[in-house]
Symmetry: C2
């Protein structure tokens, strides 16, 4: 079960007197205007996280950070990141269309995914996007066929699977380096006349806390690159190591304390990865490809929180006090599996007690936090569930209740970036 932790608030969240503010906007005022539950995102913190990342990787001169749309595809979020210079990592026609509508040039879009449809392949071939990472032999052949039919030559990368300690990715993704499958894919691709092989891609998993798996994975990829270059004459423009950086506020579901002491910082990820990559470039005599990172969680987790109201409390003989709030796993699906900081909106001097915090759904898995020390709560008190930006809105459900609005705050100002759903929004697709 989750343990209690010391709660350090991120920079943009403060108490002014006793009231929580998000980038100088009062949480109480936001609740008065929009009610609960409510998503609030700090624009400043989104920008800051992105720029920390840029800086952390700046020692390598040619580094592209592509924002992983699926993590949180709110147009307002994607837009801010694009204005800061981020590219887009998309995995469907829907996400590609969004990137285009937001004005992203094709040259800054990367397309991934284990099950690309013909229609999707046609879209990106027509679009000349920066890099398509093929996930299987079948996909390489299919991209080639469609490119041929269109009379185009397409730049592709190939998704490979290095063998690293933290690696856990199901077999639908990529091609194995160790068994020689990945090399065979390059061989195959080099024979297909409408493909121009320019990249290598890997994504070693998600919520990786240490830098070690990246540095080991990079070495295996660089070795394969060198072999592919020497034997097949392929020149690499892109070295794409995916995403998966863990964030400090998350505790893994099965914490392996002896293996992972703490989560690496953005700066530590940057330093170790660039160091490992530069050393591989030198050892394997690579021609300095663009280093591509596909990141979402580490950018968007802590800028967002959910404001929620206590709907009721209950004590069952012998068990911890139960608190039911009006935001649940309908809004933040993975909450039961991770550690989300939960803080009061009004931080009074009331005594604290340990409580279990549940959402309002008629579902057993609807648990937000266990054994949390919070000021004695009664109905009507407000809480903020922090670290709520990643895989929340994009996985949210129209389950039991319509989905709430999303407000973006910035230096004391606020704006509604997604309005709350109405009954009609949900049912206007239906007929009986």
């Amino acid at each position: 079960m989750h343990t209690n932790k010391t709660i350090d608030l991120p920079d943009h969240i403060k108490y002014e007197n006793t009231e929580l503010t998000i980038d100088n906007v009062s949480a109480v005022e936001l609740i008065k205007e929009y009610g609960t539950p409510l998503f609030v995102i700090s624009e400043k913190q989104v920008r800051q996280n992105y720029n920390r990342l840029r800086k952390a990787f700046s020692r390598y001169p040619d580094c592209t950070i592509a924002y992983s749309y699926k993590t949180n595809y709110l147009p307002a979020v994607c837009n801010i990141l694009h204005h800061e210079g981020a590219g887009a990592e998309v995995v469907s026609a829907f996400e590609l269309l969004l990137a285009k509508k937001l004005g992203m040039p094709s040259s800054k879009i990367i397309f991934n995914g284990p099950g690309k449809s013909d229609k999707e392949i046609e879209m990106f071939i027509g679009d000349d996007i920066a890099l398509v990472n093929a996930d299987s032999m079948e996909e390489l052949e299919r991209i080639n066929q469609i490119a041929k039919a269109k009379g185009k030559i397409v730049d592709v990368g190939i998704r490979v699977k290095p063998d690293v300690p933290d690696f856990f990715v199901c077999p639908k993704f990529g091609m194995d380096i160790a068994t020689g499958q990945a090399f065979k894919a390059y061989q195959k691709a080099s024979e297909l006349k409408n493909l121009n092989v320019v990249g290598m891609h890997a994504h070693i998993g998600t919520k990786i806390c240490s830098t070690r798996s990246y540095t080991e994975g990079i070495r295996q990829m660089a070795k394969l690159m060198s072999k592919v270059n020497a034997e097949l004459g392929i020149e690499f423009e892109f070295f794409d190591i995916g995403g998966g950086f863990g964030v400090p506020s998350f505790t893994p579901l099965f914490p392996t304390e002896e293996k992972v002491e703490s989560t690496a910082t953005i700066e530590q990820f940057g330093e170790s990865i660039v160091e490992a990559f530069l050393s591989c470039i030198s050892d394997y005599n690579l021609s300095e490809p663009t280093l591509v990172l596909e990141l979402g969680r580490i950018i968007i987790t802590d800028p967002a929180l959910i404001l929620t109201m206590v709907e009721g409390t209950k004590v069952i003989g012998g068990s911890t006090k139960t608190v039911v709030v009006d935001a649940g796993v309908n809004l933040i699906m993975f909450a039961p599996y991770y550690y989300h900081r939960i803080v009061p909106v009004v931080n009074t001097e009331r005594a604290k007690e340990a409580v279990d915090v549940y959402g309002p759904l008629c579902m057993q898995m609807d648990v937000l936090g266990v054994n949390r020390k919070l000021p004695v709560l009664v109905r009507g008190f407000f809480l903020a569930i922090l670290d709520a930006g990643a895989y929340s809105i994009s996985l949210s459900q129209q389950f039991i209740r319509p989905r709430p609005p999303v407000v973006m705050v910035n230096g004391g100002r606020k704006r509604l970036v997604r309005r709350g759903e109405t009954f009609d929004d949900i049912f206007n697709l239906n007929s009986v």
Copy 2:
């Protein structure tokens, strides 16, 4: 992991020559018209499941079956069940509003939930709905206050927790019988002047495979009823044992083979529950309250399936062949945890092989079936994922791809009951 099973198809699904039909509608024709992925629901099977339930409980003359909206709140599904005579079990204002829009009389609506908002309580008090099951002392008091302010007296039940073997419900739900907490709640409620206590409610969990937990729970509830009646003079109109019946096609996540030999049939649930209840009525001298059942999963699981296309296949050295299809956990969230039958849309005489079936999402948990024997699959083949009606559409996500249409079939006819989403449906709530 899931084991392979003999696949017996439900009555409404057949092969005509080699092609799958759903209630005499060709799956191939549906795919031609609507594409994949596609939800298909058999109206006949919905009606049949409901009527089997009615019949199974008919030995008790006063039995109400309330359909659990959250399981699948498609208006077309709710509507069919209401036409057959089912009531509505709702857990939010959103669901209450839907029931009203579908023309349900208030007298056939039951309202549950562990976190009812003031607004929701106001709505149902204004509406004189059949039964409100209060979940905590706090809620009893709050319902009383709001009823008082409106000058109304409200019929309420109280959600209690019996102590039964299969019971696993988190502490946010109901009040404990064993510790005396449930009796205290009745005591409290009987003192509140704007409440008229008329019911007892329990919901012992979900996917319960044996009848034993129900029969034991019923005895504990009946004993409490008798005590409440004798000591507090409360007359019970409703004995509400919730839902939770397992369905045969599901394997529990942690199967306890020695405890549960197989899932009880609808008829076995009916016989055992009615038998136990009649015997309690006699033993505890109860005045024959209405027996209420709140069921969803057992009604709507097998009428629905998802038609999906193989996007690609892959073999990694030593592991089972991987098949990626175009429907994933975005459409059927709990698929990785249960056994969904998967059958080919065209059942050729091709040799069979064992495959792992994955959805198209860039997520590791996106697994639909492991080690399934299917005709050798290549890209473009179609599969049907059966048992897909419960907790699928109501938990579906706008993740990576828009959500697909839903077609209802009936005796060779078909109608679109929910159109597929467009890009604009998803983004029209947003601004940047």
